[in-house]
Symmetry: C2
Subunit: 548 residues, 2 copies
């Protein structure tokens, strides 16, 4: 034994930033502006929260459900629960009541921390959560007079008040559980994935690599991705470790408020799903120059594919680099990053926009330590030639090995996780996703990628969003149909879309129909809910044009 | 168990870069230019080397001594030995024969890989290395007709030739040993530090953080630090992981050749001890504009303190950012980095030169996961106020917990390593080193930092190098004396040095004498050898001016 056996615990990382940059702001949006506290205060409050939780009976390994917007108190909950060795059970506030009840009971969470404005969403669950012993309610301005039928409810500030600002974080084994997230399953119950100290520690370090997103202490970070989505993509931990300024939108997630927040706080790096950036673009287009986004340098986008037209707009209009990440609840979540821009500096010049846009359309290269591979149906690895398409499997130290208290052996092959995605890997080891396996359109024995079509269609002027789904066809099995959301006063014709698609796709790949809709239904994590789209079309008795 | 139990083995990292950038050059300097091979070839040759080593009887955990300059074959040895689970025992080619014999025998290395031009240095050891069963000799151009009395010698290329380009790296436990380095001990025998897969894995990832040195796949890296110094400061591993171009000076380490190599190969990041950068500066000053260093953006300097005047020259003249790192054999070696420059980019502007120069004079902030602390003589932690000075102790996952086969309990306090350095920690957690504990000058009950004086004196025009050591004084205990190396035709007077030092130091801290010398003796790792300086002064009967 030559080297120290220091366990990889999150408590070793999250204290670091506050020591380096105690005065760094943690900014939370409020109804009429922002409120702010320093990183030092945040850490002290987190230590007090940990005391309160322990006093309430929360011990090592116990689940604490957190039902909150992004904000300073949510960050304190991350910090306290991780530090004390409890398990941060992030509750998606957009889950339906039945799913919410299921996940709290399945996780047997002992205590809930809830934003007061969200209490009404939990009201129907009163009396149905046998494991929950107490509720701590965080009241932002205007919500001080909250009430709830949930048991043993305490105000968050009262819960913290009696305690000292120093909690001795326990020493644990590094695979000790740290967090629990449930996937918004499209079939059956949500499935839980349990994160561990070791896995999140390694994930936190890796995401701060220069070739990932170049996150630095000098960044001001805004996670537009909710902190209840897969550990906020790791941003809360990484920013705590580095000592970044953090800016949190709380419940003010509309594009207007988000744009203003990014501008006013000088955010340099923001992260969120593509729909957020589509919304911000629309807001910018409606009133050009309304936001001064001159400090914003990078947007990390993930959760679904980034349309090239969106990346191009941010690059051309705002000079903002878009970085695509790919991952999922089961991969903690960050697995790959698309980034190949020489850092601007001496002797470097930014790569040509077209080369950059080609890169950002890919899911990218796996973070060091993680392996991504494509396999055919007989589990034979496929060549990395940018042509062969197969099931995407992944393994590594922050990839899940099982679901929480539910055996799902078909989601694993050997030590690989089956991601459910289908894609290619090119000569430079860049993963290029084709589609979710279940969203591919199978036409005449060939596969059509719904994602590729969507990303191409959405580049047409006047189209805000496009969603392509398969519809049954007696001869071809399935044919693609595009649903589109239009800008105000815009129109679109099928022939126009097909002509536009012919620039890139073969004739047999073109959509058979274009349906203008008001909006596309989204899943609880903000992705297009194609299962619901297909179900709605079926319920409406939709038939393909040539079958009518 | 929610997450996969993937062991942190170096074989998981080092294959990555070649997959991402198979065509990246590995450049080795030769007598009349360079030779180059691709990263793909390098990896294939490493796999063949591993086959050869296994065939020669090298198994998991066996030590392989490597006695080589920086070059492609040395990199192959790193790769093969790490991959196959053997132990890379780096031999410092500047060690004296007796120390060399000691470390090879103490490590019980079973096989040596030796650069042919270095064979004469091993000649005196023939017949004195009982554990060594075979020698593999790497012959660069001009050294093909090597001969040696060492046992079972084979040419490196013949050793590789029979084998396939794919070796199945074994699965091991992550604390499996990976490498072995001996410190060039100033007292007694050299002490060995054994690195493990886990510790080097974590070290490799951490050193690539943006806030460390921002190492990226887009960098062309030149380790002017020898690969026989503490795993080449981790650069070989990091560059393999990211897929960087690597440029290696081999035996051509003089400033002229190094400058030309950096220029010709468009190196963007170089690393080495301050004396290397002093040498390069002198070469540049002798003939301005001789090297086009416009691509060079960062120099990582470590091993001893960086004089502010040196950092200023590189910044002002070449626009090169100097990054100071601090660490030691016992810390794998990278522990802290001094870097606080906003990355040039949107909305950022470089900090003012003076602020930058103040930062680069500090050892810097600990890498995430590592703890650095200062203690008083009763092992009480001291405040981080930039004033309190104490013993620097360090702990974390890449800090050694014991020396190899030698108990040295006084080098540890609890789970802390006693570094032997003395310093302060400021409010932003930056470590500011005062001196090696044994090099401090104790005058009238107060301490004088020899390093601070040196770094100030060397800024005087005409002075190339300065070395301050204590000399005995009957009243004050010790008084500082400065030895200086001058530029050609330059002169210096004691009064001049003292006046210059008064700008920053109190009168009682000024050196009592200035001695002009031809050169300062260096240790095997290129640091000023103050033990020898003091011994030489004593042998020469040196007395302080007022005692003569």
């Amino acid at each position: 034994m030559g080297m120290q056996r220091t366990p990889l615990l999150m408590s070793r990382l999250i204290e670091r930033g506050a020591a380096l940059a105690p005065e760094a702001d943690i900014v939370t949006a409020t109804a009429d502006g922002t409120r702010r506290q320093s990183l030092r205060e945040t850490v002290e409050r987190a230590h007090r929260l940990a005391h309160g939780l322990r006093d309430a009976g929360v011990g090592i390994g116990d689940r604490v459900g957190v039902f909150m917007w992004n904000g300073a108190r949510h960050l304190e909950a991350y910090f306290a629960i991780a530090g004390m060795g409890a398990v941060l059970h992030n509750l998606n506030i957009r889950l339906g009541g039945r799913d919410l009840e299921y996940v709290i009971n399945h996780a047997e969470s002992r205590l809930l921390i809830v934003d007061a404005d969200l209490l009404p969403r939990l009201a129907p669950l009163a009396g149905r959560l046998p494991s929950v012993e107490a509720v701590v309610v965080a009241a932002e301005e205007g919500f001080e007079n909250w009430s709830t039928a949930l048991p043993a409810a305490t105000d968050y500030e009262d819960f913290l008040a009696p305690w000292p600002t120093r909690f001795e974080w326990p020493l644990m084994e590094e695979p000790a559980p740290l967090g629990l997230c449930y996937t918004s399953g499209t079939t059956g119950h949500p499935k839980g994935v349990e994160y561990e100290h070791r896995s999140q520690y390694l994930h936190t370090i890796a995401m701060c690599l220069t070739d990932a997103m170049g996150l630095s202490a000098t960044d001001t970070v805004c996670g537009a991705v909710p902190m209840f989505h897969v550990m906020g993509w790791g941003f809360p931990w990484a920013a705590l470790m580095l000592g970044c300024r953090q800016v949190m939108p709380h419940r003010f997630t509309d594009p207007e408020r988000l744009g203003r927040l990014l501008a006013d706080e000088g955010v340099t790096l923001a992260a969120g799903v593509p729909t957020v950036w589509q919304g911000l673009r629309t807001a910018c287009l409606e009133r050009p120059n309304r936001f001064d986004l001159s400090r914003l340098s990078r947007i990390v986008s993930g959760g679904s594919a980034v349309p090239a037209s969106l990346a191009r707009w941010y690059w051309d209009t705002l000079g903002v680099e878009m970085i695509q990440e790919w991952g999922m609840t089961e991969t903690s979540p960050l697995a790959t990053f698309s980034r190949r821009i020489p850092r601007p500096g001496k002797g470097d010049s930014r790569v040509a926009p077209d080369a950059y846009l080609e890169e950002v359309g890919k899911a990218g290269q796996a973070l060091p330590g993680l392996e991504v591979e494509i396999f055919d149906e007989w589990h034979r690895p496929l060549p990395h030639d940018g042509e062969a398409m197969g099931d995407v499997l992944v393994r590594g130290p922050w990839v899940c090995s099982e679901y929480y208290r539910v055996p799902l052996p078909d989601r694993f092959r050997g030590d690989w996780l089956v991601t459910g995605d289908v894609g290619r890997i090119d000569e430079r080891e860049c993963l290029v996703l084709a589609d979710r396996a279940k969203d591919l359109v199978r036409s005449g024995g060939e596969w059509i990628s719904s994602v590729d079509l969507e990303n191409h269609i959405v580049a047409l002027p006047g189209i805000v969003q496009a969603c392509v789904v398969a519809q049954p066809h007696p001869k071809w099995d399935e044919r693609p149909v595009a649903l589109v959301v239009l800008e105000e006063a815009a129109t679109v014709r099928l022939a126009e879309v097909r002509t536009h698609c012919l620039k890139r796709f073969a004739r047999w790949q073109l959509p058979d129909d274009v349906l203008v809709v008001e909006s596309i239904p989204l899943t609880a994590t903000g992705k297009m809910d194609k299962k619901t789209v297909r179900a709605d079309l079926e319920a409406a008795g939709y038939r393909l044009p040539e079958l009518r």
